[in-house]
Symmetry: C2
Amino acid sequence: MLNERNPIPVSEAVKRVTGFYKKGETEYIPLTNAHQRILADDLKADHDVPPFDRSPYDGYALRSADTTEVTEHNPKILEVVGHIGAGSVHHEHVANNQVVRIMTGAPIPDGADAVIMLEDTTTFEQDGRTYVTVRKSLQHQQNISFQGEDVGEGSVLVNKGTVINPGIVALLATFGYAQVPVTKKPVIGVIATGSELLEVDQPLEQGKIRNSNAYMIMAQLERAGAIPKYYGQLPDDLSESLEKISEVMKEVDFVVTTGGVSVGDYDLLPEIYHQIGAEVLFNKVAMRPGSVTTVAAIDDRLLYGLSGNPSACYVGFELFVRPIIDHYLAKETIGMQQEQAILAADFSKANPFDRFVRGRYQVKNGQLVAEPTGKDKSNMVHSLAKANCFIQLPGGTEGYKKGDQVTIHLLGE
Amino acid sequence: MLNERNPIPVSEAVKRVTGFYKKGETEYIPLTNAHQRILADDLKADHDVPPFDRSPYDGYALRSADTTEVTEHNPKILEVVGHIGAGSVHHEHVANNQVVRIMTGAPIPDGADAVIMLEDTTTFEQDGRTYVTVRKSLQHQQNISFQGEDVGEGSVLVNKGTVINPGIVALLATFGYAQVPVTKKPVIGVIATGSELLEVDQPLEQGKIRNSNAYMIMAQLERAGAIPKYYGQLPDDLSESLEKISEVMKEVDFVVTTGGVSVGDYDLLPEIYHQIGAEVLFNKVAMRPGSVTTVAAIDDRLLYGLSGNPSACYVGFELFVRPIIDHYLAKETIGMQQEQAILAADFSKANPFDRFVRGRYQVKNGQLVAEPTGKDKSNMVHSLAKANCFIQLPGGTEGYKKGDQVTIHLLGE
């Protein structure tokens, strides 16, 4: 299995992968489950907002013409002829020198054309009738929220492909989306390979380590909006691995394996790809870590062979698996958000390949600054815990200095 | 119910609320459910990483002393006496002029003190034995990952109070946390008040609007890491509301109501607080929107009375409910992250109160810039959908200009 491998640029590798994307179906889910899901149709207003002319204040609805001459020193007394709570309607016409007590959000009664705030009035009773003293003049249409002034019926408020946040939930509720159209989450199979792996609950043994990559990948899948399905660990045994992977391929949308893609004698995946008739899209990428990342395809199904090295596995996931999930979910934005930042520490290692250094960015006085989260030994899981971005350092240079501008890829923590 | 209300500053309101915080208990959950939960104990290494001296490469373990004179032009032939796959152990001592084939991650056999990479060797067979030709000299301890060099046994890797991300999941797996100690999520009751409210699946009626606040609050609760429990809508009826709220208070950690806290005739919450013996911590805050936000306490339980206005409700939640959830979860950081940003548009309205404008920030050439997401009419739900921050504009000024530096509060989208 010691085939020659030709590294391809990261951008080319991403392109080959996204050529195989498929979009998930639409499903309808209850509004209470919709937060963080991806909207599958445009969100449209089924009515005007406000749905009728309404009062923005607690106060009195009146005819502005009745207040023309009114001032602090020339108050006027008007009769209170009704009372509208929010949710109720006043059916009589408001006549000259009449007012109707109105609550915030209640519909303006017929005949009235303005609202005076409660604070600008005083009330009194006389002979079983209620009166209000007003001390200011109101303009025609003053203090009225007009039908449709916020949102017109039929307008598109949120585009499909958007992640549903609490503000969008409020819009969905307002427009009667008790069931919300969202894109189905892809189900992605996860398999760890390597006879050196112990499960998390097993005690350590000489020569072995606990499987951490599969759990990390499952968390990365969740963060990306997919449903991970764990199929356990495979020993370095060709026929057993072949059988398992063929079986898993039938049950899920994509498969991610970790380990088994280097050039060692026990790295079986290349042989497995060959035997199940998968087309290898690439098996070497010009980057560090993760250069041995391999992706193969059978029909429209992708089989990701991520490195067994935790950092390489992590980077390979975010660069090559995440965009496929974003495509599947039909998200508006694909892949990690990229920004410019100032490097906060020297990074002296030169490299012929692009480097994706695990880093942490912060905002200092409104400016993004980023620094590596640890020594960049590729076997160090430690630095992943603090990372909230990758710092991309293009290859072929003499290293980078504190203060240099760099591109960072946000992990979405 | 037209009591005098004295507005207090936002910071004072937050202080009064956090005085009532309580911390959630620790619960143990399976590792596969731990992503995004809050670590309740420090994460400690139960063993060294690597747990033994191991090979970082596929290659041959050898005695460096055997390669002292070796160069490209003065190669040396050594005998291959064994084969160590990852996960297995070589038990014989490696003697002079012997090498052992070794996989990435496998333990260095006794007697060997360096590893030569596979690429720097060639092999051949002769008389049934296997030999390797080496063409470079190795240093003592070259290409060995030493026991404990990444992480020493007993060291604290992640502090309690940290949000568990995929990198931390990898650490938890490595150190055998099949069950993970996390802080229990608080259960928070949500009640909408107001006779004008229709449920989401009801058709519109004159004078009524669909309840959007309760659903928005439930999504905000989820985003903050709490479990929302919805108790439906209450009409503006004192005895019914009193009974319901008293009942709900017994079942949850905190209660959030929306609506019913203004000074209108149907705003019953002040009377309810009085009748159930709740101490009102404040009922007016010097801010816009959300000035009528009310918080009351019975024993150690808080009762939040958020405004019925969607924007005011949203802001009141993030400023006053979210810190209590963060405290309950014992998070390392409490409340919204605050940063400095450049205002990208004029905001001309002056205000005696602090204003929290719904905004959207972006990074432009490494610099945070923020602008309001819509007209700032407080009844506009629309602008919440795009908001990813609040832009804080201190009161008492003549408005703000494009280019001004402002404080923004990140919503964590």
